[in-house]
Point group: C2
Chain length 310, copies 2
């Protein structure tokens, strides 16, 4: 165990896998996770926070590990019934147990609670001591413009499975979104800040776009380390590679390092990308080369160890 | 089959059982059911219409017949999970499939649809041609005052299982509640109006308290027949007997007949109550004596036949 206070910036599945390893190495209560809420979506009046739930379920040990989201062993009887009433907006896979989280969140928000308060209540109820911090309590939605029009990120990602060409990405609410309470403090007071291997544009990019977060990352005394989500020129999961390309970034670990260069102290890249090491170092960033592809729990713990040692 | 246009006034389980029999005797599209919404309750932000759902599920053939409510074979994984987040307001038994109805209804109401529109959409989706008409689209809640204070009817009924003494019953919203569209027309245009064997105070009494419904029952040219919910001085189900007693009504078929006397043409009472026949007839009401206790489908069809012949 490392006696370190760690704050992680996280998207969904990739981040959650990495955090599983990290959570084995530090005390639960010493870990804070700032989570993307740009994927948050209202469906049938229910406020769903996909990334917050993925991270919470994963750290609570109840995630469906094969899918990476949802609760293991969950059933889908609610959704099957809902499809009898409506067939057009039932593409988001909500499990029966998972639904309790969405109903509880929606109800608490209607009562005036914030996303932060709900995240704390849910995670405590599931036995977690780790601080789960939604990046902002303000409305923030990522929308994707494709040749078929503008749609919510989850619609592009889940319903259309990233099929369409991306013309533009819009962070709705970013200009007025304030960091949630404790978010900036978590960055300032940490011994180590870790940017998880998540999509640098729609998972980490959203967090960085919340007023004050990027500046605080530049200012913190904590060492800031990121794990590359790009390995051998491809995203391990999701549309990060297509997105980097669309916006003129090089689709490589180096491309991601450039996006983070203003606040990054160290970058952990995959052994397949060892040739990029010196280019990244020229950005003033320390580079650690290791295996970043996480299959087993052992992989996750090894990678987290490397990051803490970086 | 009878070539009759029939409109029924209905509460929950007892009414639904009776309607199962009735629906075998007339064409589906000739039946309209005006349903009590005084039991409607908001729990975790979801609008639940217990009686509307019981009637709809029963006529659609998907009700849990043993319980009388909910969907047969439904699971309760949502509710079990919700109990991890909140233990105080999770007493209402919402099944996973059942929940889809509540989420759909709540969402459509938020979009501006009425209870009537939702009832039509849900029943059509479940393949029903019968018109399910919530009594009113306006807010209407039955509250029960007990020595422990005032509570929603469902809290008294489901959570506390009618344990406490009833001091008062309040129909919140009754003074301003208007009948939903088609409700008065359904009473005026029917060949026969049937008051189902439901609680005369909190199921039928609520319907009668909606502005204009009682008057329309007095005016309609249709023959109005009720089935007694009291047999041998006791309610077959629920707290009707306690309620009648509390408000000074005789706890008997005769007591119920007196409540309905101003609009009733015929009353169907149980063979056990044959001795009340002449007293009820003195109220100017025709009386038919038969078996009113419905166990088998045959019982239900026999009773419905007797009512149509009355």
């Amino acid at each position: 165990m490392y006696a370190l206070k760690v704050t992680a910036l996280a998207g969904g599945v990739g981040a959650a896998r990495f955090l599983t390893g990290l959570s084995r190495l530090i005390r639960e209560e010493e870990l804070s996770v700032i989570v993307n809420t740009g994927d948050d979506i209202k469906l049938f009046g229910l406020h769903i926070s996909p990334d917050v739930d993925i991270v919470t379920y994963t750290l609570a040990g109840i995630v469906d590990e094969e899918k990476g989201w949802g609760i293991k062993g969950d059933s889908f009887r609610y959704l099957d019934m809902l499809k009898r009433y409506n067939t057009s907006s039932t593409w988001f896979n909500v499990g029966d147990q998972d639904l309790a989280t969405h109903v509880y969140r929606t109800h608490r928000l209607a009562q005036g609670a914030s996303l932060s308060e709900v995240a704390r209540e849910v995670s405590h109820s599931l036995g977690l001591k780790t601080k789960i911090l939604p990046m902002s309590n303000d409305s923030f939605e990522t929308h994707i413009t494709t040749p078929r029009g503008s749609m919510h990120f989850e619609e592009y990602f889940v319903k259309d499975q990233c099929r369409d060409e991306i013309l533009n990405i819009e962070f709705r609410g970013a200009s007025s979104a304030k960091p949630a309470p404790q978010v900036l403090d978590a960055i300032l007071e940490a011994d180590r800040v870790i940017v998880c291997p998540s999509n640098p544009i729609v998972s980490i990019g959203t967090i960085l776009s919340v007023n004050g977060i990027r500046e605080t990352l530049q200012q913190t005394a904590a060492r800031v380390t990121a794990v590359s989500p790009i390995v051998a020129g491809m995203a391990l999961k999701g549309p990060a590679d297509k997105m980097l390309q669309r916006f003129g970034w090089e689709v490589s670990a180096y491309g991601v390092a450039k996006i983070y260069a203003d606040f990054l102290d160290a970058f952990v890249i995959d052994v397949k990308d060892v040739k990029e090491k010196s280019r990244i170092e020229k950005l003033g960033i320390d580079v650690l080369v290791t295996n970043t592809v996480m299959k087993s729990l052992e992989d996750k713990v090894s990678l987290a160890t490397a990051v803490l040692e970086s």
